[in-house]
Symmetry: C2
Amino acid sequence: MIIDIHGHYTTAPRQLAAWRQRQIASAGTPYREPLVITDDEIRETISHGQLRFQKERGTDLTLFSPTAGGMAHHYGDEETSRQWTTTVNDLIHRVCSLFPDNFVGVCQLPQSPGVSPANCIAELQRCVDEYGFVGCNLNPDPSDGYWTGAPLTDRSWYPLYEKMVQLEVPAMIHVSMSCNPNFHGTGAHYLNGDTTAFMQFVLADLFKDLPELKFVIPHGGGAVPYHWGRYRGIAQDAERPPIDELLDNVYFDTCVYHYPGVRHLVEVIGPNNVVFASEMIGAVKGIDARSGHYFDDTKRYVDAIQGLSDADRHKIYEGNALKIYPRLARRLA
Amino acid sequence: MIIDIHGHYTTAPRQLAAWRQRQIASAGTPYREPLVITDDEIRETISHGQLRFQKERGTDLTLFSPTAGGMAHHYGDEETSRQWTTTVNDLIHRVCSLFPDNFVGVCQLPQSPGVSPANCIAELQRCVDEYGFVGCNLNPDPSDGYWTGAPLTDRSWYPLYEKMVQLEVPAMIHVSMSCNPNFHGTGAHYLNGDTTAFMQFVLADLFKDLPELKFVIPHGGGAVPYHWGRYRGIAQDAERPPIDELLDNVYFDTCVYHYPGVRHLVEVIGPNNVVFASEMIGAVKGIDARSGHYFDDTKRYVDAIQGLSDADRHKIYEGNALKIYPRLARRLA
């Protein structure tokens, strides 16, 4: 079985974006317009979108969540974020209910700048208990490009983390859009967020406090595997534990869109901490004019790695996902 | 000849840091205390520091500039930054005058948040004309971690760029310290700055406007070579020119502190755009307890790359540096 742990509903019917625009415009006053999307419209977008690519590329199951760029936690206030979050999580649940063999839900959290992460617990619990979601996406920068909040290792995050541990759901650390003109979203802010989060973990005792907490750092871990020696050295200079110890809690996905990068990831991080993902249809949608293949068809890159044993490839495609997401494992058992 | 294009005077006598502390404390009022450091003190720090490593590692010449983390452009106001910048540039000139065979100067610029980059021209000109410096360090985020200024492709930078072209000096794009608690300096802000700058170049016509402008992106280009396929794809999706075209103007240094990373850099970017550097004694000072070698002894990694022709290795060690820094080439001729 090939599990893609990183997919977003980027193909949602256009009513969703229009609804969101009106919701943002009305921030501060209650917005009551219902979102109207039919099951057939959902089927249409999925059948011609993510499900088609699953079949064409030979993958089986996608962990599916609301669009990362669309989380946009900086808009409006906490209530704006909560309403938007429940709306898109409900939509993901509908996708997963219509295609239960192919999509399993991962939720957005109702984060908002300056608001306690503990306020996300109720929505996380709802999605896990009522919808059977198996993970969540955690935005390390709810200000969306200005990084005005506290690092992920700050105690203010702990109540949410404790709930994650209790519910046995990991988080993918995933920034959203950038409203800082310095940072292109998918070309800078995404990778910077990944790099930043890892370095925060290097410096703190988060996983000593919460040994069961699990995170996935997407996009191949940003700059981290490419600079693994730098991190080893910084940790050593700072008299921190060896960074390998972080690998009990931190995993990197394979959303690296060329073969040498994926090979480097697996070589440096090792097959126990690399987990298959494509983020299709997402950051890079096009077909590479040189190769004739989609940039985000990351299965091709993993398949091409020579010298990877069947057992190790199985970890990347399935085994690690089942370890990181125990609720998924139980569901598939 | 082996040229290390990335060295900072991190070993400066301690009077410098103390002077700077007092200067910052007096920001807003003229600070007139002279910095007193003797030639012997400079000789001592260099002989036991960067010069010793040059000899031990078998490199010949270092392009030498003030400490990057110490630029700290956010402190005080424009005048604070100008005084600090002229002070440290003067100090670099003294190092280079005392060790003319081993160190060639690269200047800091007196940037300040919200102040026009054009105001850096006079100091750049002074360092090039009077001191024979061959390059400059350009901070893409003078706010030091909050990214409140304009992207590097904004027209406000153009007067400085035009002067760089006229003087035939390139810039290394190098952030300084981070005062944002989310970003560790050398473990996050440095790499994020590199990644961010490259993506800004992907999106704009800067090098069409200024075809002679040259930049070095340090630390192996941040996350860029590891995600080269992502950048190729984003550029294609955005109908931008192929990113290979940026390689007429943009170079990546080898400050990547493990062998697989340096090998990946050379494989993906190619020997025409990789330029040798170590940033010793800098971000990662320690000896790797596993290998017994310094993490930042990047020559070992370049030497270890198999299948690199002598001609290509020569480009990385010398040829590309002479191409990027024509004033260095003329001086060595």
